[in-house]
Symmetry: C2
């Protein structure tokens, strides 16, 4: 694990890092309390399609986890996203770009990258092997649901904006049968990218019985602020039930 | 309005009443704070099929509204339910019993009964013309959604466990176009009485854009306790945003 730029903002320390996994360099960011006396829980956050590890709503969410709940947060760039975007990728034909993050094996690599990241983070004294949550919508569920299915260290997850009719839908339906932790699943009722029925299929396929689907009106990326707040409260209640500094 | 039995339990005064509406006698219960210095908001609660105005989860909810949120609650018996059940009704053929509460005009009568009840309650000095919420699932939505559609005094509603494929589904779909207040709509994912798709139809038909669907695993009557608690918080946030005594 190597450290890059570091900054502190209103009690939140924000540090760039890289982790190496099967010769891939995985760039990430870690948000932790500036002052902390004990190891904290951790939320892994997966960004959406065409986004990156520091997209604004993830940064806001990470800071709220640290400040209000005393929970650390980490985010990594997805395949061919953020600092992992190849030079000249924007000029490539769409089919080529899609292959980079939707092709065969990409999900498995991303799951490996997350596991390597979690291994490294749990070595840090300020974290330790504490409770872990996952938060990721849309592409953050496309890669995150397989992670949650494969990773017993994850105690609770926020997923959504994804269904079985999407690119790797069959993989998702299959992996859903291995998701056994509590899940909050978000749906946008008027989602222009993910059809309503296939969201229900995926939610229904989750093996856990401790799951709830929240559907709000609006297009794919119009998740209401109060629903974002609820995702935070949901994870906090599972990761740090006794801490609420809000 | 006539008063019947009254009792006080841990700070909650519970009073039976009857209201007369178009020559029908409507039996109800009102829960209010034992000591209050100012008029309070009010939640109207509609019970489920084969239930009655004092079924246990309504009593619990009413007491929590009064104790934790300083909000009064009222409940009335539905058509041919509770104290409105005709003598010997249990011995009647099923078709006859159904006609009593599902027949032509029954919804309109129940909406009138609720309006007459609200008129009477708002005359009470301890209530006054304050904010009003509606809470009713299953049959409580069958009659309650038309009430919410017809009653501009209702500021927010908890509905659910009902769809457009049920008995008066067409009426519900039509009335949904007149529901303009914030709505929390509950669905049971494995509901054996109300099919999944028709719940989505009804939720989608609600005219308000301030609505959210919460779907939990389980059969029709297995709404999880934490979801019940959320319905309370939802109505409290709309009816008494500054009061939380929990």
């Amino acid at each position: 694990m190597e450290w890059g730029r570091s900054a502190t903002h209103k009690g939140v320390q924000e540090r760039d890092f890289t982790v190496t996994c099967n010769e891939r360099t995985v760039p990430g960011v870690l948000w932790t309390p500036e002052h902390t006396g004990m190891p904290t829980s951790l939320v892994l956050m997966g960004h959406g399609g065409s986004g990156h590890k520091r997209e604004s709503h993830l940064v806001s969410l990470a800071r709220r986890f640290v400040r209000h709940n005393g929970i650390a947060a980490a985010s990594i760039d997805g395949p061919a996203h953020g600092d992992r975007k190849p030079e000249g990728a924007d000029a490539e034909p769409l089919a080529e770009r899609r292959r980079r993050f939707l092709g065969e094996g990409v999900t498995d690599s991303m799951v490996e990258d997350w596991k390597a990241t979690l291994d490294a983070l749990h070595q840090l004294p300020e974290l330790g092997p504490g409770r872990v949550g996952y938060w990721g919508l849309s592409m953050g569920t496309m890669f995150g649901l397989p992670l949650v299915a494969a990773e017993p260290r994850i105690d609770a997850a926020v997923l959504g904006l994804m269904g079985t009719a999407f690119v790797n839908g069959n993989r998702l339906r299959k992996d859903a049968a291995d998701v056994t932790c509590p899940v909050l699943f978000l749906q946008q009722w008027d989602d222009e990218l993910v059809d309503r029925e296939s969201v229900g299929d995926l939610f229904g396929a989750l093996a856990t019985n401790d799951k709830v689907l929240h559907a709000n009106p609006g297009l794919h990326s119009a998740v209401p602020p109060k629903e974002f707040q609820f995702t935070q409260a949901f994870l906090a209640s599972h990761l740090a039930p006794t801490i609420d500094r809000s």
